[in-house]
Every structure is written in structure tokens, then in C-alpha cells.
């Protein structure tokens, strides 16, 4: 994973919530055949990882509509993972290639919304890669933690906290 360059985000919210540390909220879209199975394998192998993510199962990474990703950010996700089968291993032949193109375009779009494109990450995790699922979750959670809360979340929050909150 490349290290985050988050200069694009206007005034990253440096102030963490008062009640002790920023806990990122991450949505992880997992394809049914590889990544969801890889996540299950991580469980079967009792590989421990942070609790900050919630998995949404889709049959293929290509089912992940750009709308889903934008919706997640709009609703306050700090990061979104899209996990699919490795290139050439897609259960549906080439769905993951389509996912790859869509995510590349989406990242450009995110930048226009004032979001660091690194908040969206695509990774290949196979059914036999419980360990990779674990490391992906750990690294992404850490990266988002460093980046701080999503600026969209601050903007959308029903209770703008006046001076302490960032202003875009």
C-alpha cells in the first residue's frame, strides 16, 4: 500500500473527538467467492484485527456500484475497501478487471469532492489469503487513522461543532 499523500483534503481535521482517539469507520465490500471466503478463512485461522470495518457481501467486485462507494462516504465512512479476486482468478471471468477500472475512475471523482482518493482502496484477496485479509484490514485502518476523519463527515454532521470543527 502506498503511503498516503493527503494534501488534497482541505484542512484535515486534526482535532480528534474528545472522548479519546479517532476510530475510523470503514466499509469493506467483499466479493463472495474470493475475498469474503478469505475473510472467513481469517476467522477460521483466528487471525486478529481491528474492529473498525464492516463487510458487505456482493457476488462480484464488479457488482460494487460507484453509487455504493459515494453513498458510504456521504453517510460518514472514513474509508472504503473494495476487495476482489486476483487478476485472472475472478469467479465471473473478468469482473475484477471492470472493478479495477471503475475504482480508478472513482478515485478521480473523489478528488473532485475534496476527498483524498486514498480513502478508497482496491485490493485482491483470494479465498486462501486469510493472512492477506488481515494485513489489508490492519494497514488500511492504520492509514485512515493517520488521515483522520473524513472531511465529508464533518460537513454533513448535524451538529457542527463551531470553532473546533474544520471549515472547508
Amino acid at each position: 500500500m502506498s503511503s498516503a499523500q493527503h494534501g488534497h483534503e482541505a484542512a484535515p481535521a486534526a482535532a480528534t473527538p474528545a472522548e479519546g482517539g479517532f476510530e475510523p469507520k470503514i466499509i469493506a465490500f467483499c466479493c463472495n467467492w474470493c475475498s469474503y471466503a478469505g475473510a472467513d478463512l481469517a476467522g477460521v485461522s483466528r487471525l486478529q484485527m481491528p474492529t473498525n470495518f464492516l463487510v458487505i457481501r456482493s457476488m462480484c467486485s464488479a457488482r460494487v456500484d460507484p453509487e455504493f462507494v459515494l453513498r458510504a462516504f456521504a453517510k460518514g465512512a472514513d474509508g472504503v475497501l473494495v476487495l476482489g479476486c486476483h487478476p485472472a482468478d475472478c469467479h465471473y471471468i473478468g469482473g475484477n478487471y471492470r472493478a479495477r477500472r471503475r475504482i480508478a475512475l472513482l478515485k478521480m471523482l473523489l478528488e473532485q469532492y475534496g476527498l483524498d482518493p486514498d480513502r478508497l482502496h482496491l485490493e485482491w484477496v483470494s479465498a486462501s489469503e486469510g493472512v492477506k485479509f488481515q494485513s489489508t484490514i490492519k494497514e488500511f485502518t492504520e492509514k485512515i487513522r493517520e488521515m483522520g476523519p473524513s472531511p465529508l463527515k464533518e460537513a454533513e454532521g448535524e451538529d457542527p461543532r463551531g470553532e473546533g470543527a474544520s471549515h472547508h
Binding site: Y36, A37, M49, C60, A62, D65, Y92, R98
Partner: protein, 1006 residues
Amino acid sequence: MSEKTGAVMVVGGGISGVQTALDLAESGFRVYLIEKTPSIGGVMSQLDKTFPTNDCSMCILSPKLVEAARHPMINLMTMSEVVDVSGEAPDFKVKVRHNPRYVSMDKCVGCGICAEKCPVKVPNEYDANLVNRKAIYIPFAQAVPLKYSIDATKCLKLTKGRCGLCEKNCPAGAINYEDKAVEETLDVGAIILAPGFSTFDARLKKEYGYGLYPNVVTSLEFERFLSATGPYGGHVVRPSDQKTPKKVAFLQCVGSRDEKVGNTYCSSVCCMYAMKQAIIAGEHTAGLEPHIFFMDIRAVGKEFEDYRNRAEKEYGITMHRASRVANIIEDPETKNLILRYSANGDVAEEEFDMVVLSLGLEPPKGASALGKIFDVNLNRFGFAGTNVYSPLTSSRPGVFVTGAFAAPKDIPTSVAEASGAAAKAGAYIANKRGHLEEAKAEELAVEGQEPRIGVFVCDCGINIKGTVDVPSVVDYVKTLPNVVFAEENKYSCSADTQAKIKEIIKRENLNRVVVASCTPRTHEALFQSTLKEAGLNPYLFEMANIRDQCSWIHMGEPVKATQKAKDLVRMAVAKSRLLEPLYESKLPVTHSGVVIGGGISGMTAALDMAAQGFHVDLLERTGELGGNAMKIYHEEDGRKLREFAKELVTRVRNNKNITVHLNTEVKDVGGFVGNFKVKINDGTELETGSIVVAVGAEEYKPKEFLYGQDKRVVTQLELEDQMQKGPLAANKIAMIQCVGSRNAEAPYCSRVCCANAIKNAIAVKKANPKADVYVFHKDIRTYGFREELYKEAGQVGVRFVRVPEDKPPMVTKEGDALKLVATDTILGDDIMLKPDMVVLSTGIRPHHDNEDLAKMLKVPLSKDKYFLEAHMKLRPVDFATNGVYLAGLAHWPKFTDEAIAQASGAAARAMTVISKPELKSEGIIAAVNEDICDGCAICEPVCEYKAITIVADPKNPEKKKAIVNEGLCKGCGCCVAACPSGSMEQRGFKNQQIIAAIDAALEESE
């Protein structure tokens, strides 16, 4: 269904018997499944976890038991035994005695009030007699069928005529003390024996003090210690004082490889189960120090060697290699145990808090009586007599054996054999297939109704409950909109909970069901059929994965894990609100098969399918059939493997149902289960309902030990070839094991090399008794009855030298002589040898083309590049992709008998598809909203399956629209994400359904 449907009797309701029954039933045959105890499930139901995936045993077994019990083609007969068999296949007459249960199967609802009131306490066999049950009982909580029975030898009423409390208290009036044994005679075409095994009686090893010292326990007892449903709730404690032990010793080969007790064979499974128990015990108990005392670690199965490495390196298990414990003495004060054992030639002593005896496997109790009733031969150890070339066939035609009855073996091998036995038995009655008319279930109309959601949250024993606060999840769920019912279950998947869910659906008028438990990948289908039986459309179901993806990966964080479990359930509930009933359409089936690979496995699979009347295209990439076996000259069971392979070739050639395609490679695979199209290199497109992958494997070509540089260095196969041609011109022969196995490049064990090397070593000694033959090895892994070869080799004077795992021998040239230097770990010293010949026991490598074929078939490979089955334990010959099956060395290195059994298994599984008159399509497929679609055609090229076509709109010929072919659509949803107008939707994964889950995920909870 016709009265003349062919029937098979299956004797034994363990995992092997259940699997064989299911395969036969799914192929259109009637099955009588006979089990002598009150419940099916066998020994697997007693296990806590299974190696090498550490899957919860009950969790993967329970759905199979439920499926067997509810299958309309299976007549489950518990508390029953066979008393007489007459006639011949396919016209056996089998007399079955149904022993009295004293509880009416029809009336008993399994409430358990009877057992609560029963005053008689009896040691509970299921819990290895560690705790008591009552005289009226169910063997275990997930028993199938969930019906009580009375232990007639212990019941006061039945023995002494007093008490009668159960009858007085039974609310269903199910108790019947007058119940009598009933006999009936059944007509069957074939019989499959699956009576399982028993374990060695640890009392016979007096030197270990079992029965005298409370802290010496058996492996089966320890399995119950580890189980959440066991007597200690999954906590490891010392029986003497209920304290947590620190140092626990596992002793291998108790009742195995032991001349003194008469069991000279290896029990094959104990090494792996001991490592599993040590790992799990360590996980359950902080600071536990497991030690394993063993002679050789026999980690020969798929990914077993990795498991062994993890056991040692990650879990810190201390391995005492080449150590047999001589005796155990108890410290009478502390009840600690002092072990005396050999270590590197010396005698050592060490004190432990607790000792687990890894018991060997023996023939099932009553095996000799069984042999007499069915008139089948047993071998010298009392197991069923079979042959390497017909591993599933007993001495009596039409009677087959599967599972541990023929030899000690692990679960996947037993399951593969079970399917194989189904193929063999089905051949006797192939012309009498019956197909059930699908009962038209009345389905409750739910459209337009307000959602009424029921949520079932599973403890999974302690798998979930150990980390997640389940009651608080249940309380939380009750606050969610539209949730009208929520409750906690110990095991949501068990038969009793299934029955309860059905009842609650009806009672509460539920129209959506959410289960929060394990993964939908393994359990969705089970719950969906429960919904179906309750009259709900099966797609009105959603799962929240709070075990694999929550409690198991957040073990140290109960508060956060509980919060996450609530989040996951809230998401599932949100999605479930928007679920709609879905319907599957019927698809035609091509009633023929394609087998890829013309070796022993491929030919066996083809012959088994042909024997049931199906046409098979057998594809072989080389110019001749026979595969690797054609190169193997040594004998197995008194016959050369090569001769057997040649006979198979003749049988295949003469079979009118088999078309052989030589010099043939697969170029493309299209279609789907029941309707594949396999394109081969001559341009032909073969239509088939299912595909068996039996492409074999390759011999490792050594680069080390001067191979290729000095002609005195040869492989085992080359040695066999030389011995064919005449006497060897060598008097000092050094064999080196694990050449190209168990190293950095191929970290796994190739399984067969030890036995094959020893076989050749014995042959060399027999031909020339003066020859010195050395075998340099890390472990000798002659598992099962092949241990006898190891013993024989010692007797004829073959010398075995154990070398360090990380330091193989060195072979160099000194002048013209070969020089071998190795470290002998037993002597602790280097030895030097000048052999006339060095023979390399080369390992097995996956076929180099596997990746290409895997891509075409859309199936995965394992980390070592063998084909990866759907589930390592219970689906050993299936792929996750329906309709594609796996056999032989393409799966993993294995012996001929194992490959043959597995090939028959793959054939049986393939026949469950091609024997069906029709199949059902997926429910979760794409659908076009024709009102919105404007025929822009963006979706058309996106579909990999060519399932979408753009046609003129019949309502308005000016306009175009997309249509989806339901047979071709695989339900990936790729087109849905591409559709710009929102008219393409994926059923079960609609945009609004997923968005509901996203919104729920990010909602602020509590």
C-alpha cells in the same frame, strides 16, 4: 415415483454413511440408512474442531445430518440393526430389527421434560463417560432425529417395574413401556457398510496408568474437554482438582505401531489430531505448554505439513521427536505425572500436570459379527478386507465398504470414499432410478405486507458467546424497526433449532428471517430450506456473519466485538426489510460427462459413470492412456501397478459408453452446471452436464545430489526400471527421502515416497541379501497398514538413518567414488558412506498446466498449486463451482487405492448432476425493468456469459431493450453496476437492498 425405484442399504450413520446416503438419494435411489444408536452423527459429532482448518466439527456436520434426515429419498432407521442378509446383488433381502425406543417417534417433541424428571443417572457415552445422562435421553443436543429414547438396561420401570415418572410427565403422551422390537425384510440392490471404528482401550497400556491416575486422559475424553458442549464448557481442567493445567503432554501411538498390544499398524490420524488438540488447548488456556511425544510426525495430507509447522513455530508446541514414553508415575501428593522417555539415546524424565493419550483406531465393536452377517472377509487386524485396486469392494459382490471400517483414516478420505461407494452401489440399480415429483409447497404471500422480521442469534457453543455478549445483541435487535421476534440459540443450525425456527415463523407470522451466526457460504442453504419448509420463500432470508468475521477475529475485544455484532445484525435486518421472494427456473441437463485426464483416476471415474449408463468423453493430453502408473513396476497387493493400469485401459477401450480422445487438450470451457461446453484442440465442442478433473501430477526432476551428473544417482522409478532388467550391480545402496519435498521450494510432504522407497529397499534386500541398504529420512511416514512394510524392512536388515529436518545428506564425488555424509540425529554424530548407488525418493509436483485449466474451469488452486476443493473436510471432491469435480493426484499426492476411491467419489458426485431430469437456475440473477430500459446496450458487452441480448421492444418496435437469459446468467451483477438508467437489477442484491445495508452500517447505534 415408481414402486420399483432401486434401493441401497447403508449400515452406519457416521459421516461416511451419511455422505454415501446423500449421494445415492441425490442420484435418484432409495436409501435405508441403518444406525444402531438413537442418533446419526458418529464420532465426528463428538469432536470439537477438525484439522487442518480448525473448523468447528458440529457446525459443518450438523447441516449434513439435518439434510439426511429431511431427504425424501432417505429412510432413516435409528436404533436398528441388520440381523440377516440373503440373496445376491441386485436382489438382496435384508432383515432389519428395529429395537424398541419406548418413545413414540411421532409423538415426541424433544422437550426434555422426561429426562429432567428421570431419577436414574447413567454415564454419558457422548461425553466419554465424564458426566452423566439420564436413563431416558438424547445422545447429544443436536441429535438427529431429536427424539428421546429409553436405555432399557438402566430404566427402573423396564428393569424393576417401578418409577414411571417419564410417562407421568410427558406432555405429548409419547412414552410406551410396552414397545417391542420389530423386524422387517427390505429388498435392496446393494449394501454399503460404514460402521466406523472404535478406539484402543487405554487400560491395556498399564504403564501409562490410565484409570488409576485421574490426570491421564484419553484423546477422545480430551476432545470433550475442549468442546463448548462438553462437561467443562470448553475449559481445560485437570480431572483431579479442576485446576487449569500448565504443562500438558500428548503421547502418540498409544495402541498403534505397538507389537505388544497387537496393533502393529499406524492409525494415520493421531499425529494430526494431537497437534490440533494441542493448538486448541493453547488457544483456550493462556500460558498452557503443550508437549507432543512422537516417533514420526505423519503429516501427509493436504496442507498438513503447514499445520505442523504452525503448531511448532506459531503455537509454541514442544515436539519431542523420536520419543516413545516408557512409563508414567504419579506424584501422589500433587497428582502430577512424571514421564520417563528416551531422548537421543538417553533416558530423560519430566513432570507434567496432565497427560493425553492419543488413542489408536481399532475395528468397530462387533466387526466380526458384522463380517458373518454380511458374509464379508476381514483382514488380519479385523478391519474389512479390501484390495488396493478395488478399495471400496468387499469380498461379497454388491457389498461395499467406506470409511474407517476398512482402515484407520481421516474425515476427508472417509467422505470421498463414501461418495465412491455410492457410485459402486448405484451401478447395480442404475436402471431403477426414481425421481420425486417436487411437492408443490404452499407459499405464504408476503408482497405488499409490512415486514415482520424474526432474528435468531447463535452462540455457536462458545465460538460466538465466548467473545460477543449475545443476550445484549438480542436485546438490541428487539429495538430495531420491524423486528417482531428475537432470541438466542445455542446452535442455530441444529435440528432442534431448525424445528423451532419453523414453529416460530408460523406462530409469529414472520415474513423475513435473519440468522446471526457463521457464514452464509456454508449455512445459508440450510436456513433457506428451513424457511421453505415453513412456507416462506427461501430468499426472504439474510445472514449476519458474527462468528467468522467478528467473534473469531476480535477475540480479545469483547466490548467492541459485541458492538460490531450489533452493527452487523442491524445491517442484515435493514437489508432483509427490502427482500423479495425469488423463484428459480428449470434448466435442461446434458446427461453425459467429461473426464479430463486418462490416468488411473480419470479412467476409474469414466468407468464408474459409464457403468451407470452415462456417456463419457475421456480426454487425455498424451498419445496413450494410463498416466503415471505406466511407469511404475512395483507390486501392490501382489500385482504390478502397470499391469492394473493396462487392464483399465482395455476396459475403457471396450466400453461403448466411453469415447477416448487422445492427444487432446482443453481449449475453452463455457456454460454452467448441467450444460457445459468443453472445446478441445481439434475444434470439437463437447456438451456435458459435469466435468471431472483428474489431470494427475508430475514427478519432481531433481537438480541436487549429483543427479544427472553421475549415472549412479537415480530416482526410485529409475531403480525399479533397472531392477526389471536384471540384478543390480550395486552392493551398497543409499536411499535419500524427501528429495523435492518438505523443503523451501515445496514445503509439503509427498505422502507416498516413504512407503515406495521401503518397498524397493525390501526388494533389493530380497534379491541380494548381502546388499547394504540405507534409508536417510526425516520421519518415516508409512501410515495405515503400510507400517507393516516399515517393520518388514527392519526385519530384512534395511538400515534407517534419521537426519535433521534442515540438514539433508550431502553427496559428493571423491575420485571416482560417491561419498555421502549425513548427521544421524539418534547417534548425534556424522556418518560417512561410500555407496555404489544413490537412490532419490523424489517428490510429487502439481502439473505445470494446472493454472491454465483452473482458469478455464473457473476453479481455484491451493497455495501449492494443486486444485483446491470446495471444503477440505466435507467436500473433498467438489469444487465451489457446481458441476465440476476433482480426483487423484490433481488434488494432492496419494496412493493408488486412495486415488481410485476418490475417482469413484468424483464420479458419484458428477452423477448427482447428470442423473437429474432437470436442474434449477440460480435465484440471484439479473433482471431488467423493461419500463425503464431504453436499450442503450452498455450492459451487453459487459456480460462475460453472453447472457444479455438487445432486442426490439415488442410493445414499441421503435425502441430496443435488454433481455437476460436465465440459464446463462450467473448472477455476478456486473451489468447492474454498468447500467446507467438503473433498469438492470440483481435479484437478492438490488441497489436499494445494498444501500440499506450501507446506511445501516453507518448509522450511529446506541
